[in-house]
Symmetry: C2
Subunit: 255 residues, 2 copies
DNA sequence: GCTTGTTTCAAACGAGCGTTTGAATTTACA
DNA sequence: TGTAAATTCAAACGCTCGTTTGAAACAAGC
């Protein structure tokens, strides 16, 4: 039962997002209607997708009236977005905070070298893993939902995700650029694209093609081991020698 | 306008899947009802997902009667699976054929070394790229649809994909194992998982987080250039030194 | 030409959908 | 305590869904 947060002093600053304290005990329910709807929606959207999940299914699972969903969130689309902002905003904020922490620590070092790729990858990965661990149920559901959303072509989903990620990604892009000054800018863009692919595929944990990775189930959920496997893989890919333009046809013509 | 197939003698054997010749001119329509439904379904499923795509939308786009979908395919689920088998069966067959071709060529070599990772990755990648290029419209649609399906938790989709991929993947798994004898079996499983992530993310081409890779649009569709970027990245990751169990906490505790 | 089997067609089936409404109920605060 | 705002509720609104049906149109073989 290794805990990420208690092991490291680096990530302690990332706590304190637990719950906004109810003002003047104005809410004495176990959990208020809005949150109950969000929780049910998160799980059901993950399980069936946006279109296949009806508001009736959500409100029934949340034990609230059907009209409560429209009353509190306006429409089904807005509810969907609320499910994302609730978790994505803090997670991406944590990523930026952790990256800044790492960079300050690196600067304090007498050598003052730029961050390694592994460190930057960790800064992306750890807040996501924290999310999947903190809320025993909701966090894992949300990451799977996120994995689905990445592949969803619905315009309102794509535009929403772009806005949610823009700040965080440009920041990490710059960090990778400093860590890999010899990689051309365009090549680096592609490699970050590949990194996001592995990352989302792994975090989504859809075990889609589970016949590939015949990991024992005990492995899943072992965040530390997972990062230990993923970070070297991605870092090595990021640092790989850039194929010269002269061996353009290598993979196609060589016999 | 660089063409994969015309450049290389290796992939010529993969042609000839164009169309089953109509027997005795029994069908003289431009294209028969079944195919028209499949084409429309492929595009619309890609665009809106399974649940959000109605049979009315499909049959209208295909210019056929609504009942024709149920008549020819039985149900909406069976139609969905038919869309996949039409393209996935030949593609995975091509992958196996190409891998075998590469392996025979390597054996013929006096040195008789096992295939490089890059070659094995090419054998996975080239048939997919061929698909995206051959049918100007349908192929690209299908790969995006496939990318969506990877992240879909619907049981009937997951079970279907597992069956479709089982043979091909165990074969490639063995090939990678020969190319990377020093990588532990379990570690290799995970790395193949990461490879599939990058691969599907890239092939799906959802340009989800397009703010990462600010490639000029001319790059997309340039199959050769894409493979030239992806193969070294993945190969380097596959070959990366395995993190020892002693530096388990490296990414978490090190400041 | 008639028969047999295949394919197309318009229409309808019951069910579930997102959203709205207006009244009932609960809450907040003077 | 009284009043106004916030929230919950049951019911209904039009609409679209996947599927079925039975007749019409078409094809092929004797």
């Amino acid at each position: 039962m290794t805990s990420l947060a208690t092991q490291s002093t680096n990530v302690t600053a990332l706590h304190g997002h637990a719950e906004a304290a109810p003002k003047l005990a104005e809410k004495v329910e176990i959990v208020d209607t809005k949150s109950r709807i969000l929780d049910a929606a998160e799980e059901l959207f993950m399980e069936h997708g946006f279109e296949a999940t009806s508001l009736r299914l959500i409100t029934t699972a949340a034990n609230v009236n059907l009209a409560a969903a429209n009353y509190h969130f306006g429409s089904k689309e807005e509810l969907f977005q609320a499910v994302f902002t609730r978790r994505l905003d803090p997670m991406n904020r944590d990523r930026l905070t952790l990256l800044a922490t790492f960079e300050e620590a690196a600067l304090a070092n007498p050598k003052a070298q730029p961050l390694t790729c592994e460190k930057i990858i960790s800064a992306m990965f750890i807040p996501a893993l924290k999310l999947s661990r903190d809320q025993e149920q909701g966090g894992k559901n949300f990451l799977r939902l996120l994995g689905r959303a990445y592949a969803d072509p619905a315009p309102f989903i794509r535009e929403f995700l772009s806005n949610q990620y823009a700040d965080m990604l440009s920041r990490f892009r710059a960090a990778f650029g400093r860590a890999l000054p010899h990689i051309p800018r365009e090549e680096l863009s592609w490699r970050l694209h590949f990194v996001m692919g592995s990352l989302s595929f792994t975090l989504a944990g859809t075990d889609v093609l589970k016949m590939i990775a015949q990991y024992q189930p005990s492995d899943i959920g072992n965040d530390e081991l997972l990062l230990k496997r993923l970070a070297p893989f991605l870092a090595a890919g990021l640092r790989a020698p850039v194929a010269s333009s002269t061996d353009k046809h290598q993979w196609f013509n060589e016999t």
